[in-house]
């Protein structure tokens, strides 16, 4: 395709998008007004399920299918990265890296490693009560774990992160979530008292399940990039 044809195709596409976008924006309710029918329904539903963080109630009680779809997107991207970034036959994975870490960076990472993991678990466990939840907690835990790389180097990360476990956790938790959807699990547990740690029925359990799925998925994903960038050498 010549440059001129490409520009013409892009111009036509951009013009259609501009018209549709303008129509969509014109049809939006005014910014900041108080009329939100969906919000009113969602908050009422969340309060019935004793879930003060309405977003968590939406994620697991009202739109569980969306969450399953997002979980599948994550699984797909992890599997894709593993397939695309696997070492070639003429490459070997080194067990030791020759990189030396900057000492001041290592100190900061040592301090922030336990703090970040704590924040990750906090987000995970209190997802039904305060902002946060499985996805955020899982990603914070996964990135926090990689502070090990900044503090102890690649060897420390590799030893304290048995990758096979994370692959199993990612697969099993995603399968468990899909199975829960197939059986049609509803919020069947007692809802308890609102704002208590043990409340909101199945929401905190699913939050922790999703947290493990997302955290393990992010670890497996980053491991492929780390292997490629640090541990591969040509034979």
């Amino acid at each position: 395709m010549s440059r001129r044809t490409r520009t013409a195709v892009f111009g036509a596409g951009a013009a259609v998008l501009a018209v549709l976008f303008a129509l969509a924006v014109a049809g939006l309710p005014p910014f900041g007004n108080g009329d939100h029918p969906y919000r009113d329904l969602a908050i009422a539903a969340a309060l019935r399920q004793a879930t003060p963080n309405v977003v968590s109630s939406l994620t697991f009680d009202l739109r569980g299918l969306d969450t399953l779809g997002e979980e599948m997107i994550l699984l797909g991207s992890v599997v894709g990265a593993v397939a695309l970034l696997r070492p070639r036959r003429d490459e070997t994975v080194r067990n030791r890296s020759r990189t030396e870490n900057n000492q001041s960076v290592a100190l900061v990472a040592y301090v922030f490693l336990p703090l970040t993991l704590l924040i990750g678990f906090d987000l995970l466990v209190h997802g039904h009560l305060t902002p946060g939840g499985g996805f955020q907690g899982g990603v914070v835990l996964a990135t926090g774990l990689h502070l090990l790389y900044l503090s102890g180097g690649y060897d420390a990360l590799r030893r304290l992160r048995p990758l096979a476990w994370y692959e199993w956790v990612e697969g099993l938790t995603t399968a468990a979530f899909a199975a829960a959807g197939l059986i049609g699990v509803r919020n069947f547990l007692p809802h308890g008292t609102i704002q208590q740690l043990f409340s909101a029925g199945t929401v905190p359990i699913l939050n922790i399940l999703i947290g493990f799925a997302v955290g393990a998925g992010a670890v497996v994903l980053l491991a492929q990039f780390l292997t490629q960038a640090i541990a591969l050498e040509d034979d």
Binding site: G32, N53, P131, G132, G133, F135, Q136, V139, T143, Q228
Partner: protein, 77 residues
């Protein structure tokens, strides 16, 4: 949240987004992208979406820039 705060946050996002686009070198772009992530999280917080702000910080400020940095390191070897 007051309208002035929303306008300030939107302007910051516009400035940071422009900075990301204007950064040519991918290794430096990972850093501006990270800063852009923080500013975007601030906008979400001002718009009363703390859940989205947390996701944005975790993914946009930590995970994605790290993947960009590792890719740059690999491709420049």
């Amino acid at each position: 949240m007051s309208a002035a705060l929303i306008v300030v946050a939107l302007l910051l996002v516009a400035v940071a987004g422009t900075a990301v686009v204007a950064t040519g070198d991918p290794a430096r772009q990972a850093v501006t992208l990270s800063a852009y992530g923080v500013v975007l999280a601030l906008l979400f917080l001002v718009l009363q979406a703390p859940d989205v702000a947390l996701s944005q910080i975790a993914v946009g400020t930590a995970l994605v820039p790290l993947m960009v940095m590792l890719t740059v390191r690999k491709t420049e070897k």
